[in-house]
């Protein structure tokens, strides 16, 4: 997909006005965080596994060149070929070249955020190759010509009615005349239409959740089985993955897998967990004749030597966005990036440049929930703060923003003045909102109050309450 992160502020406004989006997001927020915490409770070793996962990823990153070379060696030994791509353009060109080498006209794809990152579909389609997304969510988005809004459930922002309209429009050509909002029937329609594409495809393209250096394997996790049909039926199978996906052994992948499915959907295990290793072997009854692994860098080797190194531990579970209050209000498309939510706010500026994406890391209350739920303990608020500091230093923020921040920081460094101003404003806001308990209009407050009310503050500032509490404590001598 094309990046639109520079339009973030406008896209936020549009998202907040979108009532259908807000309906879908409310389902997400309560559903996935609940299933995750239930799965966690059933695995007492969850936190120990997180520590081990951090150690596995850190070790791999510190020896990344070694493990990538071993991976390459093992893929070759299994009859596959490895292609390296420094950036997005090189990666999509590599895959286009593979299509030409094998005379490919029809491609099916499993869900892969990497192929979104390198904008692969546009490149292949421009060359006259038919590309069909087969993950149900991605399929709906491709029909609607929309970008994904979530890295696990890409169409999570759409209501059943919206999908029904899309199917009604596109499935008539396949003999499904009536519009239906019955989900089982909608699934049957998509199953029938996509089955034809699976059988016709010359090349299947999938991503990888993990690459296993020891064996040269690529592992994918799905619930639909589309990734398997994509990888097994066509005569060419291409796996596209970032260089950060490699882990040393099958045992290491197993540890990470236990965290991945629980953190993503709360499942103990996905329906389909598949390990692909090279091409069809002699004597095999099916499978692709040719197998390629395209390893994509696209900024990752630079991140390895920067403050953002820890971001390379990310296993793309989506837990940070499922728990993010900002994502929960605006959804994923507003971020204008393949990667939304807290992990996207850290990753996107590294991929497309801070000039384009500097607003993303500013969209956080730093509540810390993302770091708390991250299975590989990425300090997301710290990394977002890093980008904020960079953005401020490089003067990327609007003048009004920088002026406001400088003013606040000057006041904050003068405590008596700070206390005076805060106590005055608390009194004023309290008086304005006392009757209703909330405020609906304020000078300069439209950006906040257009979509939500502001609770009227307490009678006094935090400092004043604290002082009173301390005094009481001393008096009672039991605190």
């Amino acid at each position: 997909m094309q990046n639109h992160s520079h339009e973030f502020d406008n896209l936020i406004g549009r998202a907040l006005d979108d009532t259908q989006l807000r309906q879908s997001l409310s389902l997400l927020r309560f559903g996935l965080s609940f299933t995750r915490s239930r799965a966690m409770a059933e695995l007492p070793e969850f936190d120990q596994l997180r520590d081990q996962a951090v150690a596995i990823k850190n070790h791999t990153l510190n020896h990344l060149d070694f493990y990538l070379e071993r991976l390459e060696q093992q893929v070759k030994a299994a009859g596959g070929e490895v292609c390296w791509a420094v950036d997005a353009a090189a990666a999509s060109q590599t895959i286009l070249d593979l299509c030409r080498r094998h005379g490919v006209r029809n491609v099916t794809k499993g869900k892969s955020m990497m192929t979104e990152e390198i904008d692969l579909n546009a490149r292949l389609e421009a060359a006259g190759i038919q590309v069909k997304e087969t993950d149900l969510g991605e399929y709906v988005l491709q029909l609607r010509d929309e970008a994904p809004s979530h890295i696990v459930g890409p169409a999570i922002h759409l209501t059943v009615d919206q999908v029904a309209d899309t199917f009604h429009q596109h499935h008539r050509a396949h003999g499904f005349e009536a519009r239906t909002t019955e989900i089982p029937q909608m699934m049957r329609e998509a199953r029938t239409v996509l089955r034809k594409h699976f059988l016709e495809a010359d090349m299947g393209i999938t991503g990888a959740n993990f690459l296993i250096a020891e064996q040269g394997s690529a592992m994918i996790v799905t619930n639909e089985g589309n990734g398997d049909l994509t990888a097994v039926l066509p005569r060419v199978h291409v796996v596209v993955a970032g260089i950060d996906k490699v882990v040393p052994t099958l045992e290491d992948a197993s540890t990470l897998l236990r965290l991945l499915t629980r953190s993503a959907t709360g499942q103990e295990c996905a329906v389909y967990t598949t390990f692909f290793t090279g091409a069809k072997r002699s004597g095999d009854t099916d499978g692709p004749e040719a197998f390629y692994l395209v390893l994509v860098d696209n900024g990752r080797s630079q991140m390895l030597g920067s403050e953002l190194k820890e971001m390379l531990r990310c296993i793309r579970c989506g837990a940070c966005m499922n728990h993010c209050p900002v994502y929960g209000e605006i959804g994923g498309q507003a971020y204008g990036s393949v990667y939304p939510g807290p992990m996207g706010a850290v990753l996107t500026p590294a991929l497309v440049g801070l000039e384009r994406a500097h607003r993303l890391p500013n969209a956080s209350t730093f509540c810390g929930k993302c770091e708390e739920v991250c299975p590989v303990r990425i300090p997301l608020p710290k990394l977002m703060r890093h980008w904020r500091e960079q953005g401020f230093e490089r003067q990327l923020e609007p003048l009004s923003f920088r002026f406001g921040l400088s003013l606040w920081s000057w006041v904050a460094r003068h405590p008596p003045l700070y206390r005076l101003l805060t106590s005055l404003s608390v009194k004023l806001l309290n008086r304005l909102g006392r009757r209703q308990g909330y405020l609906r209009r304020l000078p300069l407050g439209r950006g906040w109050l257009a979509w939500r009310d502001l609770p009227a503050p307490q009678q006094q500032t935090f400092f004043a309450s604290w002082e009173a509490k301390q005094n009481r404590g001393r008096g009672a001598s039991d605190v």
């Binding site: 040269g216 295990c269 290793t277 030597g305």
Partner: protein, 222 residues
């Protein structure tokens, strides 16, 4: 400079070092040559009846159906009953010749098609390489006997497994793979329940692309 060299050079620059010297590679090589398990969840360390119970419980939780068989003679009747229960045509695709032979030369209460499964097949029976009690998964592998597509194309996938094929956890599967296969086959497929998706309206529905039903015929050793 090739993309490969550029990426490796960048990685080394970021890590502040050159390519690892042989002496530095040696411990990494040793670890890869003899992979060690990390922490294995205690609840998965089971054997005997408890292992079997966990497998069945987890498979059913993943919405597979499980039928226990005392001996192989019960297999044809169990299949016939399953086909009838789901109002499927009295026909069964069996890709593996060894498995077809198990069903025997005796007259069967359904038609047996010994060939790879195709799109449109109502029911297909396969064996499996292993099963895991940790998650209730069955494990298929590609090879000369089994076309892996046969586990994905039919509407109903029936799997025959013997109780001694069940291992406790992921790590035990890797031990079995290394012992019996040496290296990974082209495709090793863990299957945990029937295909599903929640992509429409966040409502879970069975049968997205793969089988709508997964039925496990569990042959218990005496």
């Amino acid at each position: 400079m090739s993309d490969r060299l550029q990426i490796l050079t960048n990685i080394r620059r970021s890590l502040g070092r050159d390519a690892l010297a042989p002496a530095q590679q040696q411990p990494l090589e040793a670890a890869l040559a003899a992979p060690q398990p990390n922490l294995i969840p205690a609840q998965t360390r089971l054997n005997g009846a408890a292992l079997l119970e966990r497998f069945v419980t987890k498979a059913e939780a993943a919405l597979a159906s499980v039928q226990r068989l005392g001996n192989l003679d019960e297999l044809p009747a169990a299949i016939e009953a399953y086909l009838r229960q789901h109002q499927l045509p009295a026909a069964l695709t069996v890709p593996e010749s060894g498995l077809a032979a198990l069903l025997g030369p005796q007259p069967l209460p359904f038609a047996l098609l010994q060939r790879p499964a195709r799109s449109g097949d109502a029911a297909c029976l396969t064996g499996c390489f292993a099963a895991m009690a940790e998650t209730g998964s069955v494990v298929l592998r590609s090879g000369a006997e089994l076309p892996i597509g046969s586990g994905y194309l039919p509407d109903s996938h029936l799997v025959l497994l013997r109780s001694e094929q069940i291992v406790d956890c992921y790590e035990s599967l890797w031990r079995k793979v290394r012992a019996e296969l040496g290296t990974m086959p082209r495709s090793l497929n863990w299957i945990t329940g029937p295909s599903r998706s929640a992509d429409i309206g966040m409502s879970m529905q069975m049968g997205a692309h793969g089988p709508i039903r997964l039925h496990l015929l569990l042959l218990e050793s005496p």
